[in-house]
Symmetry: none
DNA sequence: TATGAATGAGTCTTCATTCAT
DNA sequence: TATGAATGAAGACTCATTCAT
């Protein structure tokens, strides 16, 4: 039930922002492309930034929702149960599922997200990615703390939780950018997740501990 | 023997670009900050982009040199020898050394690189990172191919080599951005490298292969 | 029985015009403040100027009425009688009364008048003050003419009548602007009126005439 | 030795501001009239306000200088001497001289001052007149205080000093606006000054005091 | 080497106003 | 009575760049 004008503006905006990036994009051009006057644009959006942000409202909401749900589930599960999961190399389906879901949303709005992730410099969404990373970091910080108690001998960088979050998000972004087909992306992410899980376990493994001792 | 004017311009430029990013930075502002007229600036640089790029000539050259050297060494070593190294979990010192060297260069020009990595949108250097990744990818592609021959059963995503390169570069960039002290960054990278090596081995390990079979 | 909408618009307009002055005030802002759409505003007023003027209809009418009445009375009184009054330094109660009445009206709409007198630049009411001055000037012109006949030796500037009118109006405006309380304003105007009456008499006095002769 | 361009801009600006007033004047129009590009204008002036103000730099400086000098002289003269002057109705030449001087400056820049006094709404010079009044007020406040000590019986409005200053400035502005020829203006001001002096003396005169008592 | 005046297209944004509904 | 979408010209101002000196 969106106004036709509104839609035309957003379509033209998408195109222009993709071509030139947020800062270099021209509202005039957008209006011209949309076959609409400046006033019309400013009827719907109070400024360039809001027009830009409006393109991502839907995706961002969907993503936030899924992430919240996922973390909510984990928080509800018993912590011992949780740890077992973490230690059990056969588990991880939960993770897969969450990532799959997120990836699905991302691929449903691929074009928009690509724009958001690579052309937002200068806008208020310039650092959205960091927001997601920070969100995820909260989650991993708890995990890391628990693991530290179980393996007090392991020395862990204070940046670990943040970096893992960074990695995870970046991994998905990487797929989104470099792989066109969702299906293929999923296959890639399977690889990636097992890669990352092995990395994760290696941190707490005895070999790792020994290596450290040798140094 | 740099002209004093030139130096003042570059200093002012560094400041301005850091504050506003490439696109939003203003040459006028830079001139004003440098206490110099537009004409002076245009005597040294043919346009905004060249001024921006000039700031990174030194670092980029240094980095390219180190990377070339490192890969040259690897290429010269016998391939069988190389594979042994790769399979031998105790090895990896070579890797550490290269990374350490690169990190040292990066931290020697930390401010500049931060600028280049986070504020270059709109300039011709917008995608330098990709150049380094591509460079590294050539190297890893060969490795992956060799590993594939050794473990033909393992299904590997065609993006693996590129992703690993991406990871490695991104890891260093991550450290540069989030960790102020080179020393601390090195400690963090130790963690990261072992994390990544374990990920790498896990791809070719039997467990991994079994997991795949089960699916 | 004013429409509620109309009232809200006018209240919002008052506020906006006070803040920014006629020219810089924004109809959009007014509508927003009033919680009303542009259409509504344009139903009641044909343009910005009319909206502005509408705020002062009441005051202006009241003021005109009082001034007309006052001058009507004077015109009806015999001219000899009038002159006696003018020459008699003890008189002047009539003047006081008129001024008091006018001041009362002005203070009853102080906010509006302040707006009209200080923020109307650009509107059609930009020069209302002059209208009142011109009105008053007609009155004083007659007086001056009569005095000239009585004191033909006195050289009088042709601007005298206009200036005195100007003075009188400006005096009231001055009070309105600088004195918040009507009561205090009245006290001040007492001072002012006697000041002005003495000035007036001095023009026709013998001393003045002598001074002129000396030159 | 002013740049020709600069001069053309200022001439065009003068014209445009006179026609439309500060707020409604258009920089585009000014540039068009001056046959110059926007950039040229912005090379000389940082914004509309500065362009406007630049037109008055000369006059304002001259006026401030004269006023300062005048007050400086008075301040240096002995206070008893000063009071004698104030009480001596035959004196006042000093005042005449100062006013004459000021008027001369004003008429030398009549066009500009008219602009400044009637079309500055919205600019930073909107209230210059008040600055001059305030300046003069400081001067008269001292006088009023001294007179109060001499005539403690006289009740004086606390606004007296400010109002007299207002009057004096407004009188000159009045002449400037309504009288085209400096010579004629001077004649008018003679009238006005004696008018105002008589008003001033009347405040402290015995008659005035009696009048008050009668009430 | 550098100055600084000048270009002119371009920036985002705001405006009073209109009109079909 | 009002809505709200839309107009389109205009607003002040900034930009990278050029060039005679």
């Amino acid at each position: 039930m969106k106004s036709e004008t509104l839609q035309k503006i957003q379509e033209a905006a998408l195109e222009e922002f993709q071509e030139k990036g947020y800062t270099k994009a021209s509202l005039r051009q957008i209006c011209k492309k949309a076959g609409v006057t400046t006033g019309a644009l400013y009827f719907f959006f109070k400024d360039k930034d809001q027009l830009f942000s409006s393109l991502f409202a839907e995706v961002l909401e969907a993503l936030n929702k899924v992430m919240d749900q996922h973390y909510e589930i984990e928080r509800q599960s018993e912590s011992t149960e949780l740890l077992q999961m973490l230690l059990n190399k056969d588990s991880g389906q939960e993770d897969y599922k969450a990532i799959e879901e997120i990836m699905h949303i991302m691929y449903s709005h691929r074009q928009m997200l690509l724009l958001l992730l690579t052309k937002a410099q200068g806008s208020s969404l310039e650092h959205v990615e960091d927001q997601f990373i920070d969100h995820t970091t909260k989650h991993y910080s708890e995990l890391v703390d628990k693991m530290k108690k179980l393996f007090p001998q392991v020395e862990v960088s204070p940046h670990l939780a943040h970096w893992i979050s960074h990695q995870q998000i970046e991994g998905m972004v990487y797929a989104l950018i470099h792989i066109e087909e969702e299906k293929e992306a999923k296959a890639f992410l399977d690889n990636m997740v097992s890669y990352m899980r092995n990395g994760w376990f290696s941190i707490w493994s005895e070999e790792q501990m020994k290596e450290k001792e040798d140094k």
